[in-house]
């Protein structure tokens, strides 16, 4: 066997392994997707993979059957608003702080930047009750903005460190040239630095969106009104003890994934690049 054939065989084996792993990963999602079109009778009967009498009924129930405490489209909208606001705020904070750390060597090795890392690894569960009390005392209990603030505090430290490596790879000469041309620091940051760090911003933004989209515990505690729930909380209401609403639950599980897929798939390349950037110093 010559080296070219051996390489091809290796590639083929690698490809097959990837396909098998991919199938294993995708299978549960595919099963949920297929089952979301089954009527309850078929979901509860002995497992048949494909629906015999396919129906949109579960999606109709999910989207149009409202109760005084459940409105799934509104839950999705709440999640979208919170996630978008968190993403915007996290990127604003992280890009400014990340740029500052990247350009200030003292800052990078100083206490402040280490504190950022500490906040990132800090077990947030111990903060649940104090944060609940704090937001209640300032009148932000049962307000979606409280989630935006908490999520930004949770997410911005990681995004900052993610962006530092991107900013460090931007040559300082560009800033110096622009400065000589009379551009202000703010203008340089907006017009030169941020566009060049776009892949990093996309990666950090995707991270911020996905993390805030799926968060459950703070949303549970900080939101009081049933109709202000975010999508993960809303989805959980279909899983009551002794009565699981299987059909809408399956349909909701699919719908809740859609924004993440739509956002993540086009930028997944940036996301991987973002996480590996700075791993190898040239």
């Amino acid at each position: 066997m010559n080296s070219l054939t051996a390489k091809r065989v290796n590639n083929l084996i690698a490809l097959m392994v990837i396909i098998v792993v991919l199938l294993l990963l995708i299978w549960p999602f595919f099963y949920i997707f297929v089952s979301s079109f089954k009527p309850l009778r078929e979901i509860m009967a002995r497992a048949v993979f494909f629906p015999v009498e396919a129906t949109w009924g579960n999606y109709e129930t999910l989207l149009f059957a409202r109760t005084p405490v459940r409105d799934f489209p509104r839950f999705l909208l709440n999640s979208l608003l919170v996630s978008l606001a968190t993403t915007a705020l996290s990127l604003t904070v992280a890009s400014i702080s990340g740029y500052g750390i990247a350009r200030g060597k003292r800052l990078k090795s100083g206490l402040l930047s280490r504190l950022l890392l500490l906040f990132y690894v800090f077990p947030t569960i111990v903060l649940l009750i104090p944060i609940h009390g704090m937001f209640t005392s300032v009148g932000l209990y049962d307000n979606l903005w409280s989630l935006v603030i908490v999520y930004t505090a949770m997410i911005a430290p990681f995004c900052t460190w993610l962006l530092v490596s991107f900013f460090e790879n931007i040559p300082k000469d560009l800033e110096e040239s622009a400065s000589l041309e009379g551009a202000s620091l703010f203008r340089i940051f907006i017009r030169i630095i941020l566009p060049l760090a776009a892949p990093g911003l996309v990666a950090a933004g995707a991270y911020a969106f996905i993390t805030s989209w799926g968060e459950y515990l703070f949303a549970l505690l900080l939101i009081g009104s049933s109709l202000k729930r975010t999508a993960p909380l809303g989805l959980a209401t279909f899983t009551a003890e002794q009565y699981i609403e299987w059909g809408p639950l399956l349909a909701g599980s699919i719908l809740i994934m859609v924004p993440v897929f739509l956002l993540f798939l086009p930028v997944s390349g940036y996301f991987i690049k973002g996480f590996t950037a700075g791993a190898v110093k040239e």
Binding site: R41, T67, R70, Y141, T237, F238, Q242, Y243, E245
Partner: protein, 441 residues
């Protein structure tokens, strides 16, 4: 000058009166938390609310749903932050948690009033009695029975009669599993560390006569009776479908409906599925079988309690009490039981359990025998771990339940991690950590 003064006083009085009038016209708003998220349960609550508001135009009632799985953390954090509702539905374990936090007011007068009017079942009422007061009022209750599929018993055992003893039940389970070639499994019991396993295992303990505490509140879990009960659970577990070590409520219900299970000690609430989805009568429930001449099962009275913070607003307390009285009217209570979840929720008063509105419900009347058995069990032998003595004996029961210690014992046994004796000894030691006996008065 005098005229101006009189005029000013007159205007002031008028203004004050008009403000008072406006305030008097504002509805009293009360909010409560319950834990029943399915759409039909929320709709039942809303129906009760609408009927109440029609009768009491000055009161506006809002329901909020907190899932059972989130109830403890949400309630405790709301206590810390001061964001509690006016009143809340709970079960004895959760009630004890809020009692220990010192945020609940006794409602003894209201309980006595309802008892006098409609006759509360004593076992249900007394689970909320402590220190000379009633801290909650049971609105509806739950009870586990021996649920089964008659057609499977007929096909694989040759009878439609449910087992009368545990020996017979084990024999049925074996026959069904073997004769069907494991197409149908004889029993459905959980082995995961969760509340469902705790509740099912408690039926075994209760039947054998094992207890968590003695009458003085001392932990007596590590006893020959507990070991016997867990051994029995382990014997039955052999005739469970594979994977039951990780089961929760959903798996039991799906497998009963799918025809994978022939029998299960469970809440007989799957009847709604059989009625609405399958239009089938092949679902029944019987008394828990006898073991050495005795039997036991679990019951969970769902109560409401009123928070101390509500008592700072007398008009809200009055509205809450009126709403509770309204929920206890037999014809209204039928909405919260027969309509809300037939077989899942049962009345807690004699009057409501005899109401036509209850028995005329189409699902109740279709599975009438299940309901008759349930009321017999409630009146005869159903109780709840830690609440068997008609008074609170150990305040640690809420934490013991929250930590799923009994389920953990079962899990360790069915997964082979420990022998029955080791697991029970371990469970006893864990319970001791939370134990807080209530001294006899």
């Amino acid at each position: 000058m005098k005229k101006i003064s009189v005029w000013l006083v007159g205007v002031t009085v008028l203004l004050l009166m008009s403000v008072g009038l406006v305030q008097a016209q504002e509805p009293v708003e009360i909010t409560f938390w319950h834990h029943e998220a399915p759409a039909h349960r929320v709709a039942a609550f809303q129906r009760v609310i609408d009927l109440f508001e029609a009768e009491n135009p000055g009161v506006q009632v809002t329901q909020e749903v907190v899932m059972w799985g989130d109830a403890w953390i949400k309630t405790l954090s709301a206590i810390e932050a001061g964001t509690l509702p006016d009143f809340q539905f709970s079960i004895p374990d959760l009630m004890m948690t809020v009692y220990r936090a010192g945020v609940v007011e006794p409602i003894t007068d209201l309980v006595k009033e309802i008892d006098e009017a409609y006759q509360l079942f004593p076992a249900q009422r007394d689970m909320y009695y402590h220190d000379g007061e009633y801290w909650g009022l049971p609105i509806f209750t739950m009870v586990m029975l021996w649920t089964y599929r008659p057609s499977f018993l007929e096909e694989f055992v040759g009878t439609t009669e449910p087992p009368r003893t545990w020996e017979e039940a084990l024999d049925y389970a074996r026959k069904i599993t073997e004769v069907s070639g494991e197409e149908v499994y004889g029993i459905g019991i959980g082995g995961a560390k969760n509340l469902m396993t705790t509740e099912q295992a408690y039926i075994f303990l209760n039947t054998v006569g094992a207890r968590f505490f003695d009458e003085q509140g001392n932990v007596i879990f590590n006893s020959p009776q507990t070991i016997e009960a867990i051994e029995l659970y382990k014997d039955f577990f052999e005739f469970n479908p594979p994977g039951a070590e990780a089961w929760s409520w959903g798996e039991i219900e799906l497998n009963i409906a799918a025809g994978t299970l022939a029998m299960s000690p469970y809440f007989p609430s799957v009847q709604k599925r059989f009625h609405e989805e399958f239009d089938s009568d092949d679902y029944a429930a019987a008394h828990i079988p006898f073991y050495n001449g005795r039997r036991g099962t679990i019951t969970y009275p769902n109560e409401v309690h009123i928070y101390k913070s509500t008592f700072e607003h007398p008009e809200r307390v009055a509205a809450v009490k009126d709403f509770i009285r309204f929920m206890m009217r037999p014809e209204i209570n039928a909405i919260l039981t027969a309509v809300q979840e037939p077989g899942g929720f049962f009345p807690t008063t004699v009057a409501a359990s005899q109401a036509d509105d209850y028995w005329n419900d189409p699902i109740v009347s279709r599975f009438e025998n299940i309901h008759r058995v349930a009321f017999e069990a409630l009146a005869d032998y159903a109780n709840l771990y830690g609440f068997e003595y008609g008074r609170w004996v150990n305040l640690g029961i809420g934490d013991i339940t929250g930590a799923d210690i009994l389920a953990d014992v079962v899990h360790r046994v069915v997964t082979g991690a420990m022998t029955v004796e080791e697991a029970v000894a371990w469970g006893h030691a864990e319970m001791e950590k939370f134990s807080e006996p209530v001294p006899l008065q």
